[in-house]
Structure formats: C-alpha cells, structure tokens
Subunit: 141 residues, 2 copies
DNA sequence: CTGATTGCAAAGTCTTTGCATAGAG
DNA sequence: CTCTATGCAAAGACTTTGCAATCAG
C-alpha cells in the first residue's frame, strides 16, 4: 500500500491531508521495516526541514489508532513503528548483536490455539518481539 | 528464596549488604509478582522513608545483571521487575482492563523448538508479554 | 469561514550520572 | 582504612500537552 492510499483512507475517516502527514507516511513506507519517531524526523527533515516532532508523534498516534501502523517496543528506549502488514510476522532480536530476524506468525499458531482454548485469551498478533541469541552469537559465547 | 539468601549470594559475589538493598529485596520478594521501580520506592519508604530512587535503580540493575530478578517491559512506560523463577512463565496482558494472566512456559515449547530448528535462534524464555483481550473484555467488545 | 492540525516551548515521566559523603567489610 | 554504595541534584532520553497561529476543506 502506498502513502497516497493511506492518505485517501485517512481522508475518508475525516482526517486531513497535510504535507507533514504525507512526508511521514512516505518515510515509513519507504523504510520498509521498523523506524523510530526520531529516525522519521531525521529523514523527513532532509526534504522538509521544518517538521516538528510533535507532528510526528501525533501522526504516529493517529496511524496506530487507525491501524495503519503497528508499534513495537523492543525495549531499546524508543518505540518503533512499521506499516501494518498481513500476514503478521514477529521478530527475533539478538541480545548480543542486535540482529533482527523476521518470523512468520504461523510459528505461533499452536500457541494462539492454546491461549484461546485453555486461557480464553485472544492474543494480539502484532508488535511482538522475542529476545535471544542468534546463530553467530551462540557460537561466540 | 528469601531476601536473606539473595543478600548472602550477593555478598559472595563481592557486593555489600546494605539496608537499602535489604529493603528493596524484601519488597520485591513480598510483592510476589511484578513491581515497578516507583512502586518499590513507595513501599520501602513506608518503613524506611529516606530511600533514594538512584539506589533503587542501581540495585535493580545489579539484581538483573546477577540474574536474581527479571525485567519485563509491558509497554506501560515503566519496566516491571520480578524475582527470577523456574520454571519460567509468561504473561497475557489484557489491553482493555489490564488484567494479567500467568502462562506456563510450556505453552511456548513448540515455538521454541521451531525457532531453534528453523531459525537457529536461541530465545530467551524470560520477560515476555503477550497483549490481547481477556475473556470478559472479549464479551464486552 | 471553521475547525483540524501544526509549531513551539514547556512540562512530564522514567531512568541515568557525577560527585561528595557515608558506611560496610 | 579502603573502596563500594548512597544521597542528592542535575541531566538525559523519549513523549505529551497547552496555546496561539496556520491551513485544509
């Protein structure tokens, strides 16, 4: 999905199309992965230097609320955001080298079933990170 | 495991036994679950009013490094801590009412296997939270 | 026009740090 | 006596908020 489409969708929900939102969406789409609020500001400012951080945070909150974007807290101090994608996927984060591996949500299907059946709990399948050691760092240690 | 034992262990590793550490450990042990730095300060101060927050953060970092305590980031803004327990367990957090349900780590055994086999990734089995909707809030919605 | 959105600066929250002092061993 | 740990205050990182000005529709 392209920035333009998101903007159209937003418009239909009663939100306005502003250059700031346009730029922010573009950067999030382009980065094709996780990006922090700070990184968004930096990148947008290369083309549009007057962007204010409040606008970024407010836009991000809007995008999360409308479900266009998923927040993930990797525990690094700042939340990362990414375009909401289907099928869902999760992330393996190496606690040594920081490497990130993407995992298909299918891996969690058995867990999901079990949580639903045994705990009557409907898990959210987005923003999900698992820490551990990647192959290389396991060998090193 | 009791506070006294932790303190003994710490001592053996070259750390000193101070009243602050004693109180902090006691509160963490007593609360029998998750507790934030702030909550620890509040509770300790009821008996020991002069406790400083730096001491709390420093002690928590020490306890995490030595493996006595596990940190969990539920994304609420502040990290929670709990005594390291075996067998490991995880948490289901209801995004509506905040209810927390404890889940045996066994639920994740299939996932763990898969991550190891297919991704050569050794996941950490502690500090792990899954957001979603609990039974009640599912019915409400 | 009118109200949503922005920019700015200030405040808020959680956590860390520098440095002198206290206190455990 | 020595060196770790504390207290305090200040700074740091990230995010939110109040308010007047701006701009989309």
């Amino acid at each position: 999905m392209q920035p333009t489409e998101f903007l159209k969708d937003l418009r239909q929900r009663g939100h306005r199309r502003t250059p700031q939102r346009e730029m922010i969406l573009q950067v999030i789409c382009e980065c094709d992965g996780h990006i922090t609020a700070d990184e968004i500001i930096t990148r947008v400012r290369k083309r549009y230097p007057h962007l204010n951080k409040s606008a970024v945070y407010r836009t991000l909150n809007l995008l999360v609320q409308t479900g266009f974007v998923n927040p993930t807290d990797f525990g690094s101090g700042s939340v990362t955001y990414e375009i909401h994608r289907d099928p869902h996927h999760h992330h393996l984060v190496c606690r040594e080298c920081g490497k990130m591996i993407e995992v298909d949500a299918g891996v969690f299907a058995p867990v999901e079933r079990k949580l639903r059946d045994e705990y009557a709990f409907a898990p959210d399948l987005h923003h999900f990170a698992i820490f551990g050691l990647c192959r290389k760092c396991q060998k090193k240690g």
